[in-house]
Symmetry: C2
Subunit: 419 residues, 2 copies
Amino acid sequence: MGLRTAPPPIAWLMRQALERPRVISLAVGFTDEATLPVNETRALLEGILRSTRRGRAALQYGTTAGDAALRACAAARVRVQDAGAPGARGGAAYLPERLLITNGSQQLLYLVTEALCDPGDIVLVEDPTYFVYLGIVQSHGLRCRAVRLTPEGLDGEDLKRVLTRLGREGELGRVKLLYMVSYHQNPTAITTSLERKRAALDVLRHFERRAGHPIYMVEDAAYRELQAGDAALPASALVLAGAAERVVYASTFSKPFATGARVGYGLLPRAVHQVAVRLKANHDFGTANLLQQLLLEALRSGVYDRHLAVLRKRYACKAAVMLDALREHFPPAVGWDEPRGGLYVWARLPPRHKTGLRSRVFREAMARDVLYVPGAMCYADDPTRRKPAHEMRLSFGGARTGEMRVGIERLGAVLAEVC
Amino acid sequence: MGLRTAPPPIAWLMRQALERPRVISLAVGFTDEATLPVNETRALLEGILRSTRRGRAALQYGTTAGDAALRACAAARVRVQDAGAPGARGGAAYLPERLLITNGSQQLLYLVTEALCDPGDIVLVEDPTYFVYLGIVQSHGLRCRAVRLTPEGLDGEDLKRVLTRLGREGELGRVKLLYMVSYHQNPTAITTSLERKRAALDVLRHFERRAGHPIYMVEDAAYRELQAGDAALPASALVLAGAAERVVYASTFSKPFATGARVGYGLLPRAVHQVAVRLKANHDFGTANLLQQLLLEALRSGVYDRHLAVLRKRYACKAAVMLDALREHFPPAVGWDEPRGGLYVWARLPPRHKTGLRSRVFREAMARDVLYVPGAMCYADDPTRRKPAHEMRLSFGGARTGEMRVGIERLGAVLAEVC
């Protein structure tokens, strides 16, 4: 099994960022160092561990699915976020017993994919998509079909075309899920509208009759809370009719709070939840209770939301700095859209200019100690289309603003030479 | 994949223990509540988070394989433990770059099994063995062959018989690893001697020529530090000739310190380490950095070892309480050996009396609010032998001493009625 697992590019990029202190990493989605809630965490942990009773509970094993209070709290939080959005309904999808606490949302994606897919199965992904998810896909021996992404999000018409073609090829029986990053997508920063989610779910429901089994929609909402402004975000797919039995909603407290205290979660259809909990019992019995208690206390006390407000302002500011630098230093042939949240800017070179690990752009950038994620890493291996190789993902999450300006300036110089 | 994953009995047993507060659980391997290092943890975290620099590092992502200082510290700890034991050698097996930090040793076992095995492969396990490992095996679609366990540990002669038979059946090519719990085994409390480990490794090496690939020895040393007395324990299999390329050594800081702060680790042959790190990147990028820093600080400051000394005395005392109660309340037809460490007593009823979930003994015990692990759960599905069903695993880890006496008394009454 493992032997087919290729080295994940994220690991290499993270190591570069950690081991070469001079490198300006615009690659990895590290969180902003200066805003990490050190004092808040100290106070919260102090509060938990001052009480013998609570302290002991935090240092003991918990249940595999997670702490009951945290599960209820997380489920209610998603429900409230959706209730505030147009088109929202309450309902079965938000029941705490459908919630699963995981080691970051990454583990949730892993468990769900492990639960639903067999080697050789097909998963549908956005084009481009979150590249670490492609590692999960590769590791499980799955195949991908990419679905077009437009500025409004996943294109339902293209989804229909992809599934129609798979039907003609006799492959519908292998299609198990659609994976989408619905808010401030990684890497493009696109947010998918609720209409687009509804359209996609309708298409999946339509084709699952011929597939002979459910085709799940896995909505990765990891960046939902990291929005720059105050504009209302679309509701999650959980509000849609039938969602309770078809939508897996994955999210996390790690990026909005502290990535060193990894606590993610998901709301899952009952049948998927049951299997995912079993798998999690085999993986690790359950996420470390101490971290769960920390997040629970952060949420209950309001510390989490106060920190989130600070963080959102901070990222909005860092995004503005990056965009300013891009306007100043990138040649006019390079385009990008302005993100409204998340941690990334997706820059597009003219298609003839490549950005991959072996490209002149990447090598020149590395020579000047600047690291980015080559766009091609974010595209699935899909035999039905050529993989674009002229884009780059730039993160404004981890780098300091001064560094970021320097990094973009250096990268701009490289691009000016090449383009 | 996941759909073949059966509900793990551990999850059910843990839930009973957590959700039915009146139940006296002698089943789950929870750690002793009263000794959980609440004050120590508070002070250590306070120390880490008082410094902005260290605090930020602890709240940021780390690398997938784990914090470099903790990896070095854990590797050195195993080296020292082995150096103190007869037959020890230093060497390549203890290099920190072979160490991987995981979410408890459970995740290490999962990753290694995922790395080495394909569905349909065969793993060799002790008879009986750690039942949660059987969940991993089942979930990956693997088959088991059980190897006889004697009071000195795994029986090399029986290992040879099992492999010879597999050779006759043309199945040697499917045998990928031998899993053993080498110190104070779960469930029998047996410690395997170094001679037995050497014999086993020799047998594996002998047969791997015909298998056509390495057959790894996975040594689970989770209970190594939880010994009751001061007698020298055998060295790990890492001291054996050729071990650096064949032995996976798994252990944990969770049970000896705090199960709510799950940090396990393993020393792995280079090739296995590389694949396990890739898989871990797909699972979760790396174990929560905050927990790693907590354990590192506990180890460096001496808090870990001071706590361990307290814990060992505490478990020795609880084991004595349980053994006293067993002598007082269990009928003479029931036998057991005195554990020298770990968390378990393995009790044997006369073979005609069953202890399974549907047995009269189990149901009567549940009716009196006492929970144990039925022995049959600890035996692999091995078509070549009948599964014994007359034993029970009793844990002196989690229950309070008073509870434990009551629990054993009630269980004794049930057994007196039945046997």
